[in-house]
């Protein structure tokens, strides 16, 4: 463990933080939740390799093709009689029938999130089927539910993380400024924020999405415009407290500039308080996007999203696999995030670390 601490120190982590990380690791439920969640996020970043209608590798006439990323490969390349994108599932069947030494590796789930699988004689939504490789069935348009879930997760998590980054940076800067300078500046900004935070976000989004189709970025900007407020309060309070501590006074007595005091002294000592809110903010971001999509004011169709799936599930209760999949996925994700949040909160509890030796 001593060696581990040395390594942490070398990459700029103080022993105080190292101690907190150690404590976090000892809270096993939270730690394993983080491992699982990080794995899910990591896998979702490479979802194209796992859930896709494009093959991972195609070996055709002695040449290897990697169609996953990059431009689409027309069917004629593989000796098919069409110029549009190759249907790799059918190509796989053809190769197997021909047995010419050509082979193809498909992702475990060979369906794309936008692809309607409308086979003859089957009417969507179709129930889960292993033989069709629709492990969670299809939705009302014949799209694979699992594919929509995976890509929807990626959208939600990226949205959430981007929202988190923007709101935290803004909130920390503004809150820190309020707490540090205080006085009239703080007073005015507080009142402005109070007015600002009383604007109903949902209505604003509904109004805006009735004027234009909200894209990922527009939605992000709107949410960020209103989301930074709550971070400001925490940051303001902790800065107020930290500013009066003697080590800050000592730095000021040495002639340190305000910027130096804030960046080198106040923020490193307050960030552990802010960190404890991060997992809950991620959960909030996911919930916000899902509810907007559910109401139809979120990302435009056919973007894969959990909210849209939830809506489908709700309106087609007899297709139980849709609603079940998305509800289980939501509950699982939010539970993981909450477990992580609780563990971080416990590990970073300042009462645990304020020891007067």
């Amino acid at each position: 463990m001593v060696a581990g601490e040395k390594v942490l120190q070398m990459i700029g982590i103080s022993p105080l933080t190292a101690k907190k990380i150690k404590r976090f690791r000892s809270i096993r439920r939270g730690y394993w939740s983080l491992v699982v969640f990080a794995l899910l996020v990591f896998l979702s970043l490479f979802a194209e390799l796992l859930v896709n209608n494009r093959a991972i590798v195609v070996s055709y006439n002695g040449r290897l093709y990697f169609p996953t990323y990059g431009n689409m490969i027309p069917g004629s390349v593989f000796g098919l009689d069409y110029e549009y994108e190759t249907n790799y599932r059918q190509l796989a069947k053809k190769f197997r029938a021909e047995q010419d030494g050509n082979w193809i590796v498909m992702p475990p789930v060979p369906y794309g999130p936008y692809e309607n699988d409308l086979s003859a004689g089957r009417y969507p939504p179709t129930p889960p089927s292993f033989s069709q490789k629709h492990y969670l069935g299809t939705d009302t348009s014949g799209r694979d539910v699992l594919a929509r879930l995976v890509y929807g997760f990626r959208t939600a998590i990226l949205f959430s993380l981007a929202l988190l980054a923007i709101t935290y940076v803004t909130g920390i800067i503004i809150g820190c400024a309020m707490g540090y300078w205080g006085g009239l500046f703080d007073l005015l900004l507080q009142r402005i924020i109070e007015v600002w935070s009383n604007i109903p976000v949902l209505y604003v989004i509904i109004i805006i999405s009735s004027l234009l189709v909200p894209s990922f970025v527009i939605l992000l900007v709107i949410m960020a415009c209103f989301g930074w407020v709550s971070r400001t309060w925490i940051m303001r309070t902790v800065t107020y407290k930290e500013r009066e501590r003697e080590y800050v006074l000592a730095a000021r007595a040495l002639g340190a500039s305000d910027l130096r005091i804030v960046l080198s002294h106040i923020i490193p000592n307050t960030v552990s308080i802010i960190i404890t809110f991060v997992p809950f903010s991620i959960a909030e971001g996911i919930i916000a996007l899902t509810s907007l999509d559910y109401l139809g004011f979120g990302l435009p169709p056919p973007t894969p999203s959990w909210g849209e799936l939830l809506h489908q599930g709700w309106t087609n209760m007899d297709a139980w696999w849709i609603v079940c999949s998305v509800v289980v996925a939501l509950v699982l994700t939010l539970t993981l995030v909450t477990f992580i949040g609780e563990a971080i909160r416990e590990a970073f509890d300042p009462k645990m670390h304020t020891t007067y030796e």
């Binding site: 103080s14 022993p15 105080l16 933080t17 007073l187 501590r245 003697e246 080590y247 006074l249 000592a250 730095a251 000021r252 007595a253 040495l254 002639g255 340190a256 500039s257 130096r260 002294h265 490193p268 000592n269 020891t355 007067y356 030796e357």
Partner: protein
């Protein structure tokens, strides 16, 4: 320009903190933390500022280092009015006026290594390159009696006394001309206190800085000071040299403080003069003499008019002895008749 013998002159310093509340932060009241303090400090000498907690002594120290802006009054450092300078000029003075803080657990950033903490003064004032700064830091550690290996360790790995040494090292890093010691030993163990005091005295002998030593313990202050000012509720009530204040205190408050010093002799007769009551709130100081609510010798006049700090008319040989008490002369005579008072 002829240099004045005084490095620091404080004239009628007042620092009032507003108590705010309500929707629009209306001023509800005022804490008269420091209310008319004047003193001067000669180069190379040490002034001890004594008083119980809440009497405003720390505020005086923080006003002098310009951490607080005084409400009124002037602070003249080396002939320069502190209120008149800003920016680069203030930074230059900050280099020369340094502070040792009370709580060594609070005054060091827990996230920085000792090396980083001690390097910061040089970084702020852009002195030397990284290598020179590191050498300067190890010299500093050596001067305050800490091993060079301390550099890469964090404050929490040190004991209270060692941390205070780090705090002192930081304060003397830029070779200040004036050092404000704000109760540097009151958070420490008694056995460590004398080590730190001796360290401060040694450093003063080496570099000859002037020192304002703030403490609540007269015994500590006597050890290091040439002059002593006793504060009560934001005002100086008695000012004289360190010996006289022990031998011939005039103000009843000073007497009470002195009688509270424990005598390490169980057979010695103690005439402990215990003050009744608490320190009145500095947001609502008493009319007249501020000490009258607790003074055993008060008369009618004390409740009405506030005494000013006047040269005391005593037989003692003290060159300077000022006291703020209406009955000082009268009580001094009475004291002569009661030689058993400490």
């Amino acid at each position: 320009m002829q240099k004045s013998p005084f490095i620091l002159e404080v004239k009628d310093l007042k620092k009032h903190f507003p108590i705010r509340g309500g929707l629009f932060f209306r001023r509800k009241g005022t804490v008269f933390a420091v209310d008319g303090v004047s003193f001067s400090l000669r180069r190379g000498e040490t002034l001890g500022l004594v008083g119980e907690s809440g009497c405003g002594k720390t505020t005086v120290g923080r006003c002098i280092t310009w951490l607080y802006k005084p409400t009124s009054g002037t602070i003249t450092y080396d002939g320069i009015d502190m209120a008149a300078i800003h920016g680069a000029g203030l930074r230059k003075i900050r280099k020369e006026v340094q502070m040792v803080f009370q709580d060594p657990f609070e005054s060091l950033n827990p996230r920085h290594t000792v090396g980083h903490i001690l390097e910061e003064p040089f970084i702020i004032h852009r002195i030397g390159n990284a290598q020179q700064r590191r050498r300067a830091v190890s010299r500093l550690l050596d001067r305050v009696g800490l091993p060079g290996s301390a550099m890469d360790r964090f404050p929490h790995e040190f004991s209270g006394g060692q941390r205070q040494r780090i705090g002192i090292a930081r304060a003397i890093a830029l070779s200040p001309k004036l050092l404000i010691c704000d109760e540097p030993v009151s958070a420490l163990d008694v056995s460590i206190q004398s080590q730190i005091l001796n360290l401060l005295l040694d450093l003063q002998r080496e570099s000859g800085f002037t020192c304002l030593f703030i403490a609540h313990d007269l015994a500590v202050v006597r050890h290091v000071s040439d002059w002593i000012a006793v504060m009560y509720l934001g005002q100086i009530v008695e000012y004289t040299d360190a010996d006289t204040i022990y031998k011939a205190p005039l103000h009843p408050y000073t007497k009470a403080l002195i009688s509270a010093i424990p005598i390490p002799d169980p057979t010695a007769a103690t005439h402990r003069q215990v003050l009744s009551g608490d320190l009145p709130s500095p947001s609502d100081p008493p009319q007249g003499c501020r000490f009258h609510t607790r003074c055993p010798f008060k008369v009618k006049m004390c409740e009405k008019t506030a005494p000013s700090l006047q040269p005391a008319d005593t037989a003692s040989s003290a060159p300077v002895h000022q006291v703020a008490c209406h009955r000082a002369a009268e009580l001094a005579q009475r004291q002569d008749k009661q030689p058993n008072l400490p």
